[in-house]
Symmetry: C2
Subunit: 546 residues, 2 copies
Amino acid sequence: MFGSMMQQPLLVSSLLTHAERHHGAQEIVSRRVEGDLHRYTYRDLAGRARRLANGIAALRVPAGGRVGTLAWNGHRHLELYYAVSGSGAVLHTLNPRLHADQLVWIANHAEDEVLFFDLTFLPLVEAAAPRLRTVRSFVAMTDRAHMPASSTLPGLLCYEELLAAQSDAFAWPSFDENTACALCYTSGTTGNPKGALYSHRSTVLHTYAIALPDALNCSARDAILPVVPMFHVNAWGLPYAACMVGAKLVLPGPFLDGRSLHELFESEGVTMSAGVPTVWQGLLAHVEAHNLRFSTMRRTVIGGSACPPAMMRAFQERHDVQVLHAWGMTEISPLGTVCALKPCHAALSADERLAVQARQGRAVFGVDLKVVDEDGRELPHDGQSAGELMVRGPWVISRYFKDEGGDPLAEGWFPTGDVATIDADGFMQITDRSKDVIKSGGEWISSIDIENIAMAHPGVAMAACIAARHPKWDERPLLVVVKKPEAEVAKAELLASFEGRIARWWMPDDVVFVDAIPLGATGKMQKNLLRERFGDHLLRGQLLAA
Amino acid sequence: MFGSMMQQPLLVSSLLTHAERHHGAQEIVSRRVEGDLHRYTYRDLAGRARRLANGIAALRVPAGGRVGTLAWNGHRHLELYYAVSGSGAVLHTLNPRLHADQLVWIANHAEDEVLFFDLTFLPLVEAAAPRLRTVRSFVAMTDRAHMPASSTLPGLLCYEELLAAQSDAFAWPSFDENTACALCYTSGTTGNPKGALYSHRSTVLHTYAIALPDALNCSARDAILPVVPMFHVNAWGLPYAACMVGAKLVLPGPFLDGRSLHELFESEGVTMSAGVPTVWQGLLAHVEAHNLRFSTMRRTVIGGSACPPAMMRAFQERHDVQVLHAWGMTEISPLGTVCALKPCHAALSADERLAVQARQGRAVFGVDLKVVDEDGRELPHDGQSAGELMVRGPWVISRYFKDEGGDPLAEGWFPTGDVATIDADGFMQITDRSKDVIKSGGEWISSIDIENIAMAHPGVAMAACIAARHPKWDERPLLVVVKKPEAEVAKAELLASFEGRIARWWMPDDVVFVDAIPLGATGKMQKNLLRERFGDHLLRGQLLAA
């Protein structure tokens, strides 16, 4: 027997309609590529998104057709989020930090029909265009005054002219909530990139979950500045959550240096932000060098990779900004866990609480987690048993776009490729990527724990711990370190700082100093490249010693 | 084109599974009918709910079969919430404050197969039993030691024995999320009661929405005490929200007097509560008479009927307990709006802020609202234009159970029967029930505004403003007042207190003092009975004067 409730599909357009009807006067502030600060309201956003939906129809994008974007966080990108998905097409956010060859491969695989791009990326688009097999129209996201004088792009369109030519009357269509709304590609370090094709249903459910008090805690009283790019897993869902709750939205454009961000935080009364650790490093350095403070910022979500404890301490203890450690993946929309403390942590000391906050947190409702051993058996939630992290839920993919890579699931669960523990209170901690784990004499060593200790050394700017081949133990930890400018760090002194903080057999066998550690397009350390370069380092040492 | 996301139905059982897996050690504390304070954890709840699901199967309740409850807020009732819905049957919470005749009518209409009841209600169930046509099994919600020595109920079962006979191994079935999970009847003042049949989907979506920061703001750091009964629209969804977020749950059983509630608030560290204004009146009176305070309680949700401004002021100004005014209906699961302030209210004075808080609030995402004129045309959101409030969304009914009363919708919207305004910030304020509105010379007078002013008079315990027939103006407002014990209130003095606070033509034509105003089963004033008694009061006055 069915219930007698209204049947309304969960649609991305309903987020915008809600914001327009119930938060019409709330502000959206954007630092634009053109350099100016643009301000308007949710009511304006809704009107322009409807014009854009008419424009997309005029470009003959069919239902399900992919519309690519190469753009920063700004109001025009936000209009594309709602206009493309809302009209039944698929928003495909491309990561401009990828190499042109990868971009071309991804846009061709996605079969993008139209490509919208910020002026910053004109050279990149021009370089890629001759190899883009499916793109019929290119649209520069600017006004007539800022259009390039000339371009090799065929029939290049101007965004503001596209909108100006259209009416703002457009009725958002209603359709099956399982219809695709957005497409993001993973930047896999091996093999071809693979696409995660989100649905309207998965996106709206994810939005409810991330806005909850123990997740990102989004309210109409917040001013949210997503530093995490809108081309990176939909800025972790914040452009959707802001509409759901009617929060003020502050979009920083391409200006992500510490000084620009801090100015925007202060001038716009930002209360909440989100990004990867590398961005916060720059912001903290600027704030501390100039003895500045955060007047309104009260919490920041840090994810993408583990937040170094030293950074967490700096935000919380020196700046009264609460750090919310979070974990997610492109394949899970992206949010899986947030480290919101429980009442049982209230009695802990500051250091003990910091140790809990160093974990990636607990599952938001909708996501279920487990860790399994190599035979797929579930391990206990004891905070000790490490195994591969498995996840499932309505915003987790069941397969990749075009079935690339075959069936990724194991008995209905998505294998994350992360190695983790879960404690009795449900707090998950990632100890490694399964491909980065160091197997020494059959036992696992967590590279992340070792990196965190190295990063706490005052002379260390960045540290990666990798598996180096070893004749007796198969693999042993090798520490690869970038020193801070001008800093003196002695190998013996650095290794001495590990004493008493890890088991003796976890101690890195050696330290190598390098000028830079290669980072991928989403800011993560590319340990596979380090392994290629230094994987034989210990064997070479043995040979030399022999 | 569909997205590539996992297909997982939204099921009530998933709330319990989440709480067990990720908040297993969190506490649930119940004041039982037997008088003791019972404590266990979500892990225990989950195990006992599985036993109970086996017990319900043993009682041969089929999928979709209705299981009635007559019970207070307690852990056994909570077990029924999850066991009945989780196993695919329909939880039907009966309101024990209804007259036995109404109860019999409702249970027969619902075709309840099993009836679970707290010992308090044994006499009521025994009186009703001979007329219950479909109930096959009666279960007293207690242990063997507290079972009645004898009962007229055929084959009366003992709840704890039913559980003890079963295994705690039970795999919650998966099924279509539109399957019915719970049934509540409206206590309509006219016509037969009508049933709202909720689905698993509507319940889970409603739970996400009510837990949001600007709704009831539920977190694992909260200890939630729902005073609103679990037999009254599922205690506004709090038993579901507590599982979703892993909050401590404190259930007061039948002990709803001010002293019992305050003791439980203090001993269990309750941070958040919810109920109708009449309950808070008793609590406030106790607290103020004994000069007590609230150590941990920080917010309370008040709904069911409008919260008198004087009560709001007492909670907020004297006790530092934030009042969240909310509005809902049985037909909308029940939550529609919550009065969470926006940043634009931060600069207001305390009195101005109180005036905003007196409104019923703004729509949570999922609910859409509009007010319409008598021809069904949407009125502007200007805070002035009053019209019938219409609502739609995935947790709003599309029809009543068994199609009782025909199609209730108007062009896809549910007519609430409330008269309201909506302001530019989206804040809705109910000015009347459409059947209670006073039409004087073709213009509407809000009975609620007049009642709020009367209630602020120190000598007034309760006030109702009703439409009395009038030879010239059709209807004029008549104020019906219950004085506080020992209070002296003169008619002229009371009317003088309205001067300057309402338009002159809204001034009540007369005041009648009564010993009591009749209340319905959910604590609302039964103005229809007052109209029957006093509808001709002004005509009689005219006759006497003539």
